[in-house]
Symmetry: C2
C-alpha cells in the first residue's frame, strides 16, 4: 500500500510530515507513505508556483505505483491548478483513492465531476498538529488502508449518495466546470473562520443554485473559529442553514461530524 | 423628479440622509428625495427583518409616483430578499431608474437579468460620509436627474454594453437565477476589504464561469482596504485580474474609475 502526499495549496511543516510518517510506521506496517518534495516548497502564499504544484499532483496521480493520493493540507491554491491537472490525468489516476478537505474540495469536486469513483472528504496529514490531531491522522490512514468503517461520518447510510464540502469552497466553484452533479446526494457542509454573515451569503448562493436544489438534503457539520459579527448576526450557523434550506425547499437533515478539527470524519463521495 | 431611497441591506445614519437631503434641496431644486422610514430601522445585521426590507423596496419600486429607486447603502442583506422582491415587481417598477453598488449588486443583477433597462452601478447616499463624499452624492443626484455625462466612468463608450460589480458579490451570485447575461459586455469590477487570496479565488470563480467567458473584456477599478496577507500574496490585484483574464481568454482592458470611495463613477448596465 503506497500513499503519495502532495500539497496543491499551502506547504506542510516538516514536523507534521514526520509525525504522520512515525504513526504510519508504528501502526500501519503495510503502508509506505511518500511525501512529495513539493509539499515543503514555499512560494509566496503557496507550496510552490502553480506549475510545480500541478506537476507534483500529476507525478503521484498518474503513477500506478501509488494506491492513493493524500492532500497534505488545505489553505488556498488548488483552484489555480485544477483545470490544468484535470485535463492531464491518465488511467492510473482513475484507479486511485483521493482524500482531503477544505481547499482540496476544488480538486475533489473536479475529480468527482469527471467520474472518479474513489474521492473522499476527510483528515489530512497537517491535521496531526491540531489538539488530538494524532487521532485525525490515524483516521485518515485507517480509511485509506482498510476503508475502516469507524472512520466514516456516522450519519452516512449505505443506500444514500453523499458528498461533503467546505461551505466557502463549494460556493466558489458553483457554475464552473468543477461543479459536480449532486442530484440525490446528501450534502454535508462545514466551514471555518468565516463571519456568520458570510456563511449566510454563501448559503444563499449554494441553495439558490439549480443543481444544488436537486440534492436529497443538507447536513451541517461544525463552523469553528467564527469571528464576532458587529452587530451580532442574531442567528446561529444552524439557524442560517435551516433558513436557506426552508427557503429553497431542500430538506435539512440535521448535524454531522465533520469540520476543521481533529474529530473530522471521512465522507466518501457517492455511495459507501 | 421624485427619488425614493430604500435600504435592502444595512441601515443608513440619519445624519447622512440629512446631508444628502440638504445637497438635493440646495443644488437640485427639481428633486424630491424621499427616504423610506425603513432606511433607519435596525434588526441585527440588517435594516429591518427580510419582510420589512422587501416591502419597502416594493413600496418604492411599484409606485408610479417615483421616478427612481436609490439604494441607501451597501453592507449585506439584499440577496436575502432578491427572489421575493423580483417576483412581485409590476409595470411601474420597469420604468424606473435604479442606482447603487456593493451589496446592491444582487438586486442590480436580478433587475438586469429580468430585462429592466435603467439599472446603474454608482454612488449611494451613505457615501456622503466618506472623505470627499459630498461629491459622490452630487454625482449620484446629477446622474439620476439629468443623466449627467461627467458622472459616468470615462472608459465607457457609446457603442459598448457594460456592467459593473463588486467582485465578491458577482462571485456569490454566479449560477443562481440572479446571474444576468453579460455576453459582449465590458465588465467593470471593484472590491473592498478582501485579502488578495480571496480576490484571486473570486477571480478564478468569475472567469471560470461559461457565461462570464462571453464578456467583451474586463476592466479593474479599485480594490481598497486590502488586509495584509501573511505571507505576502506576491501579486497585486491588477496582476491577479490579468492572470485570470489570460488564463480564461478574456481580454483585460485596463483600469477604470469605480470603487468603494468618493471617486466612484456611474456605470449604467447595457449601453449608455
Amino acid at each position: 500500500m503506497r500513499i503519495g502526499v502532495v500539497a496543491p495549496s499551502t506547504p506542510i511543516a516538516r514536523e507534521a510530515a514526520e509525525q504522520v510518517t512515525a504513526i504510519a510506521a508504528a501502526e500501519f506496517g503495510e503502508v509506505e507513505l511518500v511525501f512529495h518534495p513539493q509539499c515543503f516548497v514555499r512560494h509566496n502564499h503557496f507550496a510552490g508556483p502553480d506549475d510545480v504544484r500541478a506537476e507534483a499532483f500529476l507525478d503521484v496521480a498518474n503513477d500506478p505505483a501509488f494506491d492513493a493520493l493524500w492532500f497534505a493540507r488545505g489553505g488556498y491554491g488548488s483552484c489555480r491548478i485544477a483545470e490544468q491537472v484535470l485535463g492531464r490525468l491518465g488511467r492510473a489516476a482513475r484507479d486511485k483513492t483521493y482524500l482531503g478537505y477544505s481547499d482540496a474540495g476544488y480538486m475533489l469536486a473536479g475529480l468527482y465531476a469527471a467520474g472518479f469513483g474513489k474521492v473522499a472528504h476527510g483528515p489530512m496529514p497537517a491535521d496531526v498538529r491540531r489538539k488530538g490531531g494524532q487521532d485525525a491522522a490515524r483516521r485518515g490512514l485507517a480509511w485509506l488502508t482498510t476503508s475502516e468503517v469507524s472512520a466514516l461520518d456516522a450519519t452516512l447510510r449505505r443506500a444514500d449518495k453523499a458528498a461533503a464540502f467546505n461551505i466557502t469552497v463549494l460556493s466558489q466553484l458553483l457554475g464552473t466546470p468543477l461543479q459536480p452533479d449532486l442530484s440525490d446526494h446528501v450534502l454535508l457542509l462545514e466551514d471555518v473562520a468565516e463571519y456568520t454573515y458570510r456563511t449566510d451569503r454563501a448559503m444563499f448562493h449554494i441553495t439558490s443554485n439549480p443543481g444544488v436544489r436537486k440534492v436529497a438534503g443538507i447536513r451541517l457539520g461544525r463552523c469553528t473559529e467564527v469571528p464576532q459579527n458587529d452587530p451580532d448576526f442574531g442567528e446561529t450557523e444552524e439557524e442560517v442553514v435551516r433558513h436557506w434550506c426552508e427557503r429553497s425547499g431542500i430538506p435539512f437533515l440535521g448535524r454531522c461530524d465533520i469540520g476543521h478539527d481533529a474529530d473530522n470524519k471521512v465522507v466518501p463521495f457517492g455511495t459507501i
